[in-house]
């Protein structure tokens, strides 16, 4: 067991290192964006003095290295800075005490919403895809296999907004079962929240299902030529048991990895679906912030996305290790 803990510690350290490198990349990339917050917010009234003043106030006049170190130092302490856009610029010459919103305050509710949507989607999509993958492997080369294949492939090939509108058409307009708008607000009951989240979650399920289902199918079929599968058949085990008990446990590592990638996508890549359903997630906030050059929010979002990828891949690695008896029980 010690060796497993050692591997996990190593992966964690590597994850932190990756995050550090990513922070440099994010900072550089965001600073390479054309345009400037001060000019963007002042618009027509951008006199050189006003621009200069806002820049000084937001410390945009400092050299990049200084700003990066300040940002990194804050981020390590959990302080992601203050949002530019929420600052009270009416009083930027005078005192601005208490009127600023921190990035964390702005992101937190949105992030919680995104996690809720991702959670609901994962709860539907993961069991469904793995189950379908197992069935497709069991009934490979049959009508069922072909149908699931075509279905999942066409859903992943269609644009997300198209899937969203098709679902709205069938589940909200023709059969008014679910609300087509997902206006979530604080203090909403879990049931109501779930009901409002269901349509975007179903849309996303259609988007992420294909990868996971096809990987499950492929990973299982890949093992069917193994001597231990032949042995299980020669012991008179039923086809279902051969697949679920003998093939699936050995196919877990690649399946877990694909699941992790897709869950990361659910956290970072759902802007279009959020827009269609007017779902107040982090994706929309991110796009809005880029539009007005609200650099602290953009950087914080990027950092959260990167952490989500790193954490989920780390979890996938750890689960793959734990699912492998060779690593769990060394000789």
């Amino acid at each position: 067991m010690n060796s497993v803990l050692k591997i996990i510690a190593q992966r964690l350290a590597l994850g932190l290192l990756t995050l550090f490198i990513v922070s440099i990349v994010i900072f550089t990339a965001v600073n390479l964006l054309p345009g400037d917050f001060a000019e963007a917010i002042l618009g027509q009234g951008a006199t050189p003095e006003a621009v200069e003043s806002i820049r000084r106030d937001l410390r945009l006049d400092q050299p990049p290295i200084t700003r990066y170190l300040e940002w990194l130092g804050g981020a390590v302490r959990g302080d992601l800075g203050n949002s530019f856009a929420q600052a009270n610029f009416a009083s930027f010459v005078g005192d601005d005490s208490g009127t600023r919103t921190t990035v964390a305050q702005q992101i937190a509710p949105r992030f919680a919403n995104t996690m809720f949507l991702a959670g609901v989607t994962a709860a539907i999509a993961v069991p469904l895809s793995v189950g379908l993958g197992v069935l497709a492997a069991l009934y490979r080369e049959t009508v069922f296999d072909r149908f699931t294949n075509i279905f999942t492939l066409s859903s992943i090939s269609s644009p997300e907004f198209f899937l969203a509108y098709v679902l709205i058409l069938f589940l909200a307009v023709l059969n008014p079962l679910l609300p087509s708008l997902s206006n979530i607000y604080e203090g909403m009951g879990f049931g109501e929240r779930l009901q409002k989240t269901l349509l975007p979650a179903l849309t996303l399920t259609l988007v992420v299902m294909a990868h996971m289902m096809r990987m499950t199918r492929a990973a299982i079929i890949n093992l069917l030529a193994s001597p231990y599968i032949e042995m299980a058949r020669l012991k008179g085990m039923s086809p279902m048991r051969v697949i679920v008990r003998h093939a699936l446990p050995n196919a877990l590592a690649p399946i877990i990895n694909v699941i992790a990638l897709n869950l990361a996508y659910l956290i970072t890549g759902v802007v279009v679906v959020e827009v269609v359903f007017v779902y107040p997630g982090i994706g929309q906030l991110f796009v809005d912030s880029v539009k007005i050059r609200d650099i602290p929010v953009v950087q914080a979002c990027c950092l959260i996305f990167a952490s989500a990828y790193i954490l989920l891949n780390l979890t996938a690695d750890i689960l793959s290790i734990v699912s492998n008896p060779r690593l769990r029980h060394p000789k």
């Binding site: 231990y228 058949r233 020669l234 012991k235 008179g236 039923s238 003998h246 008896p325």
Partner: protein, 548 residues
Amino acid sequence: MTDLVVMRDIEIEGRSDEVWMPIIKGIDLTLKKGEVLGLIGESGAGKSTLGLAAMGFARDGVRISGGSVEFDGIDLLAASADVKRGLLGKRIAYVAQSAAASFNPAHKLIDQHTEGPTQHGVMSKSESEMDGIELYRKLRLPNPDEIGFRYPHQVSGGQLQRAMTAMAMSCRPDLIIFDEPTTALDVTTQIEVLASIRDIVEEYDTAAIYITHDLAVVAQMADRIKVLLKGDEVEENETREMLSHPKEDYTKSLWAVREFKRPQKPAVHTDATPVVSVQHVTAAYGKVPVLHDISFDIHAGRTVAVVGESGSGKSTAARCITGLLPPSEGVIEFDGEALPGNYRQRNKMQLRQAQMIYQMADTALNPRKTIGEIIGRPVQFYMGLTGREKRKRVEELLEQIELPGSQYIDRLPSELSGGQKQRIGIARALAAEPKFIICDEVTSALDQLVAEGILRLLAQLQDELGLSYMFITHDLATVRSIADEVVVMKDGQVVEQGPKDEMFTPPHHPYTDLLLSSVPEMDPDWLTNLLAERGVDNIGDAAVGKMD
């Protein structure tokens, strides 16, 4: 006795490139209750396919296209999948060649053992667990009470093979198919497994089909022997009758003990500089020590056979000589000159002088390159030949290994047979014009007759080119036929070394003696006598010793 299995006029086909080719061409087979039938033949004879057909089973890409299979009055070819599943594992069991690959790596041995009895409704899980432990004890597995609670990778090959036999026994079947169960094992381990299989089959009066390519092994196990050649039956008879009076020429050629034996060469001058001199080499993989202070010399034009069981350090010694594993202590001298430990620090000349031929020609040849490219690469790299000169040299090399160049030079490895591929491996080594070649189990994946051809070729090349060989093998018959000197290794140490004739004449070192006496002989009473001589308990102890 009544007939348990009756197979009539069985025809089996295999698909290759969308065409169905015959594998088994109309064979009859009957097996009485409690009888053991040996199926013997070279690879490609169809013995495994026939063995599986006796279970009513055909692998993917294989189909039983004609004939009938009856098991205890049930027509297996007409039976529904459910009926067959009810028989498999419960009344007909299978023991595979590689237990390491045939146990599911994700589950503990005992859970795989109890799966059959519980799923077939023969016993409850706890009853079956108790019974499994009892079977482990009968098969003389060390620590029978706890060994089942390990995962397959935590158990050695010989022990896994016995655990698999126990698993086959779990429902007390009427018939077990043993598919080369000891082929992948060392001779000393093989004896333990053979003895335990034979005892348990006798104790429960189980009928068995024992598939192997090793005559001496089948002579110990079977009541009757059936010889197969390319999907046809050659002949069948009672074991003793078959051994003493084989009728067909093919059987006789199998029976003939290997004739190829090189005479012992005169002793080397004591002051001659050896081509390769391994001096007090100690080496480790990471922190795991594998070689402890080994020394031996290989002289010009000589073959030194390095023998030992798997894990004895033979291949590691070769890795040290080639510089793949730098020794932690000691030196390797070539023509009296010390070589750098790491191959990266050796110059082209030093690298060229020592070449290697591998065990699995299949994996050692790049499947996407033609023979001309495979052999041409070292010709160009070491000898600097290009274009027409290179091609001419490759053709010469192919000539040397008795494969006409014009015919083979543009083919891919997949178009060649196993023996031909091994010859290409030899040509590739020769292309560098080395003084010294390491042959790592070069014949162990080949059939006996093909292997003998390879050994003859190597001997002939040695005479023509004055090559020195380090011949790594676990097969003592090969040592007998080709070696000049023998080095016996165990647990990373050299236990005995000397000229071949001395090594094969008593008195031996106890370990050499154990190795020599473990090689099965054609005499059907050999195993019985040997066990009586050694005392059965001894074998159990040896197995326990291996656990550490």
